[in-house]
């Protein structure tokens, strides 16, 4: 059987999906990137290989997305290296062809994608600031002494969510401390935090966007039922969370790899090969481009970062 591998390497988590020709998921995994995308992908590949054992699947094409897509694309000899906005849109429209709005909140970024007739017509992504993303929620969960996995369930038990200043993470945090100290209940604060995340989202990247149903909510934070409910209250419509919502980027880029028709040899053995990256500053002008070289078993396979031809590192040097 022919299989297509999609890998989504985010700042916080790394996701992998293997699909067949009919977009059925044959194997999938979600694990922490831990600041080392190459190792995370190696761990990911080991798990996926195990899941596929005995299934006679031959990976013919690989797609990568997420912030480390280029690096991992070079490592896995990918056919498709795609930005996460397109990957998410393709993944979601494949599973939910009628979707109009995609909310996505990940570890350090959040985005909104507006879809009309299956086409992306508008999108936005947070810039400069990670307020209201997964990493904010998990650090606040830590502060409150609850695990982030239980966060949503606790939020649902609240009858009157505490108002928490949502505009900025720093202010939200000091407001939260203040509200806790004057005696607000923990579940109300937690529900308030979920609300704050949503308010922040709607007022920042959602600003001026035509939010229409059906709405699909995905990314790691979509697993938080408290945030899901806060979204539903805010937009006054049902918000769908796909059980595979956290894998949507990887799924989308697997679909893109399949659609591309480009087949390149891939073997799970890359998990055992040594990859190294080195970075250096190009000394040829005052711009000092940071050039990254990727080595596979000490052989240079790719490089990037140069702004002009003077800084180009030729393969085979």
């Amino acid at each position: 059987m022919r299989g297509y591998l999609g890998i989504d390497i985010g700042s916080i988590s790394t996701k992998g999906v293997v699909i067949d020709e009919n977009n059925n998921i044959l194997a999938s995994e979600y694990l922490w990137t831990e600041g080392d995308p190459m190792n995370a992908v190696k761990r990911l590949l080991k798990v996926l290989e195990k899941q596929l054992q005995g299934k006679d699947v031959n990976i013919v094409s690989v797609g990568t997305t997420g912030s480390a897509r280029k690096l991992i694309g070079a490592m896995t000899n990918a056919s498709v290296v795609k930005n996460e906005i397109t990957a998410h849109a393709i993944g979601t429209t494949t599973l939910h062809p009628d979707v109009r709005t995609i909310f996505e909140i990940g570890g350090q970024d959040s985005k909104i994608i507006i879809i009309d007739n299956g086409f992306v017509v508008d999108y936005a992504m947070n810039t400069l600031c990670a307020a209201g993303t997964g990493s904010f929620l998990s650090s606040q969960a830590h502060r409150l002494g609850v695990s982030v996995e239980d966060f949503g369930e606790i939020a649902l038990t609240s009858k009157s969510p505490t108002n928490i200043a949502a505009r900025c993470t720093v202010f939200a945090e000091s407001d939260l401390v203040h509200k806790a100290q004057i005696g607000h209940k923990k579940e109300d604060i937690i529900a308030g935090l979920c609300k704050a995340v949503v308010t922040n989202y709607i007022n920042n990247i959602g600003k001026g966007k035509r939010i229409q149903s059906p709405i699909v909510f995905q990314g790691g934070v979509s697993k938080n039922v408290g945030v899901k409910k806060a979204f539903e209250d805010a937009v006054g419509a049902e918000v769908l969370v796909d059980p595979n919502g956290h894998l949507m980027g990887a799924f989308g880029v697997a679909v893109l790899a399949k659609k591309s028709g480009i087949e390149k040899p891939f073997s799970f053995d890359v998990a055992d090969i040594e990859f190294k990256t080195t970075g250096f500053e190009c000394p040829k002008c005052a711009n000092h481009c940071e050039i990254i070289c990727v080595f596979k078993d000490d052989v240079l396979i790719d490089s990037w970062g140069n702004k002009c031809d003077n800084g180009a590192v030729k393969i085979g040097q």
Binding site: S67, I85, F119, Y123, T127, G208, A286, H288
Partner: protein, 355 residues
């Protein structure tokens, strides 16, 4: 009379340095230094000595001044405009003097353009013994340099994404710019213009029948200075698109269409938004009416007129069903983030174009 004391310099800004050089050297008979091309070092220097919340164009200019002063410039120049830019000359002057540099400063914001006396007095900063005749004679040539640059760049923007041999436009155009740096007179400009226009229009391009058209809008500096917008036009062209941009010196300094632009924008922006934000709105409307596939607004972080234009642009986007992407740049913007959004932008307009 020739002045041997002053070495003038205007901050790097798109490719106009050769025009400023011409007016200084041939008109004011004062030496001119073309500052080094903008690099990361320029913006690092600029940011280090600027107030943090000032807009990025100020930081670029300050960085350019420092690099030019280090190379011997001693007569710096700044223009004026419809926003905080009017204070920027003065602010830069104070900062640089506090740093210990000694120089003269030709600040156009200080000139009262209704008074010949005021104009002459300020011109004397560049050269105390300047000849009005020579200045008057060199102005049309300077204008012509600017118009030529803008004409060539308009053509390149429309075609570079489709060149058959990669890099040909850039190479030819850079050759032309090099020659402009040492321009002798208007006659030579005419010759060069003829030769290089022919060269540029002879470069082989392979355009498909259905072309994706993208319009660039944004604040005066950021939309024109490629370094400050992360070479966005170049990146977009790589995908194989036509890039259109109205904003340049020809359309503002030489043929100022401010009134006409305000009229176009009127339905969406009744009042003056300040700086070039009414142009931004008017251009968006023009692009939308001409059935462009998408519009990109680039602005410096904290540029208030352009921020005010954003909700208005969203109305344009809604009414004409055209995607408008917004970018805010500061000295610290991540390049990866910019590329991700641009890629997604291309995927979006391409899919719409096909569908």
């Amino acid at each position: 009379m020739i002045n041997n004391e002053n070495i003038a310099c205007f901050p790097q800004w798109a490719n106009y340095a050769c025009a400023f050089k011409y007016i200084c050297e041939k008109g004011f008979e004062t030496k001119y230094i073309i500052p080094p091309p903008i690099t990361k070092k320029t913006i690092e220097l600029g940011s280090k000595y600027s107030p943090d919340y000032v807009c990025a164009p100020f930081k670029y200019c300050l960085g350019c001044y420092i690099e030019a002063l280090e190379q011997g410039a001693n007569c710096l120049m700044q223009i004026y405009g419809g926003c905080r830019l009017n204070y920027y000359g003065e602010l830069a002057e104070v900062i640089l003097k506090d740093m210990g540099y000694q120089f003269k400063f030709f600040n156009m914001a200080d000139i009262n353009f209704k008074s010949i006396k005021s104009i002459v007095e300020h011109f004397k900063i560049i050269n105390p013994n300047f000849s009005l005749v020579k200045v008057a004679k060199s102005i049309p040539v300077m204008m012509n340099i600017i118009k030529t640059i803008d004409k060539f760049e308009d053509y390149i923007r429309l075609n570079v994404g489709f060149e058959v041999n990669e890099g040909e436009f850039e190479k030819t155009y850079n050759e032309f710019l090099q020659k402009l740096n040492n321009l002798k007179n208007g006659k030579q400009l005419k010759q060069l213009k003829k030769i290089y226009w022919k060269k540029l229009t002879n470069i082989k391009v392979n355009k498909p029948s259905k072309i994706i058209k993208v319009g660039m809008i944004g604040d005066y500096y950021t939309v024109q200075e490629p370094f400050s917008n992360y070479f966005m036009e170049k990146e977009l062209a790589k995908f194989g698109m036509e890039i259109h941009r109205y904003m340049n010196l020809t359309n503002t300094l030489i043929h100022n269409k401010g009134k006409e632009r305000k009229n176009v924008a009127k339905k969406y922006a009744k009042y003056n938004l300040g700086a070039t934000a009414n142009f931004t709105v008017a251009e968006a409307i023009d692009f939308a009416k001409n059935k462009f596939d998408g519009i990109i607004q680039v602005k410096s972080f904290g540029c208030t007129p352009e921020i005010d234009a954003m909700p208005i642009l969203q109305n344009v986007s809604k009414d004409f069903n055209i995607p408008i992407l917004h970018f805010s740049f500061d000295s610290q913007t991540s390049e990866t983030g910019v590329k991700t959004r641009l890629e997604a932008f291309y995927d979006m307009v391409e899919a719409r174009n096909k569908g």
